[in-house]
């Protein structure tokens, strides 16, 4: 029962990643694309955690942690670039 639930959650989160990828490709302004990328990495963290539950492995925890940290820095740096048109001042 729990394996079926994990697989269903994997597919639902995958559909959510596809929806945010659609907004990332289409998004009319730059902040839309930044927001879509933010949603995409948060969903990727969830997907990796679920994948680690499927394989009953704890390796994917480090991957998810690094994606969470670097994704936050990416969001902040892209927003700073949109605000100032420059990253290193």
């Amino acid at each position: 029962m729990i394996q079926i639930a994990i697989l269903l959650a994997l597919s639902v989160v995958g559909v959510a990643m596809l929806l945010s990828l659609w907004r990332l490709l289409r998004g009319p302004t730059a902040p839309d694309r930044i927001l879509a990328l933010d949603t995409l990495y948060v969903n990727a963290v969830a997907q990796l955690i679920l994948f680690g539950m499927v394989l009953d492995s704890e390796i994917y925890f480090e991957v998810a942690l690094i994606i969470a940290m670097l994704g936050f820095f990416g969001t902040v740096v892209l927003s700073k670039y949109v605000i100032r048109r420059d990253i290193v001042e």
Partner: protein
């Protein structure tokens, strides 16, 4: 015991994936950027939080014992989600030009969305 544990895990996974889907659906459904900002920043952190709690419980009872390391990701996401949402809203305000006058009255008491914010329809 085992049945109720599985039930708890299924409920947590269902809540988590539902909220993650809701955040991405709000991302494509809503009309302007400042409306779209609401959905993912709240729903996705809630969804990932539920999934991480489910992972902690799963690895405690079906894996190698209690290692609540996933709570680290949860705390980090809960700390950084408002900061990144704030940075993105400042980015879109800077694209709109200068800040509107009388910024202290930004939440409209009539509940209407101001015209100069809402003319950025997709």
């Amino acid at each position: 015991m085992n049945y109720s544990l599985d039930l708890l895990l299924v409920i947590l996974l269902g809540f988590g994936s539902f909220f993650a889907f809701l955040g991405a659906f709000a991302l494509i459904k809503l009309s302007s950027f400042l409306r779209r900002l609401h959905g993912p920043t709240k729903a996705s952190t809630m969804g990932v939080g539920c999934i991480l709690v489910a992972s902690v419980i799963f690895h405690t009872f079906y894996g190698t014992g209690l290692h609540p390391r996933e709570l680290l990701i949860m705390v980090f996401l809960f700390l950084t989600a408002p900061v990144s949402a704030h940075m993105m809203s400042r980015a879109t305000l800077s694209l709109m030009g200068e800040l509107p006058p009388r910024a202290s009255r930004l939440p409209d008491p009539d509940g209407k969305v101001r015209e100069d914010v809402d003319n950025r329809n997709a």
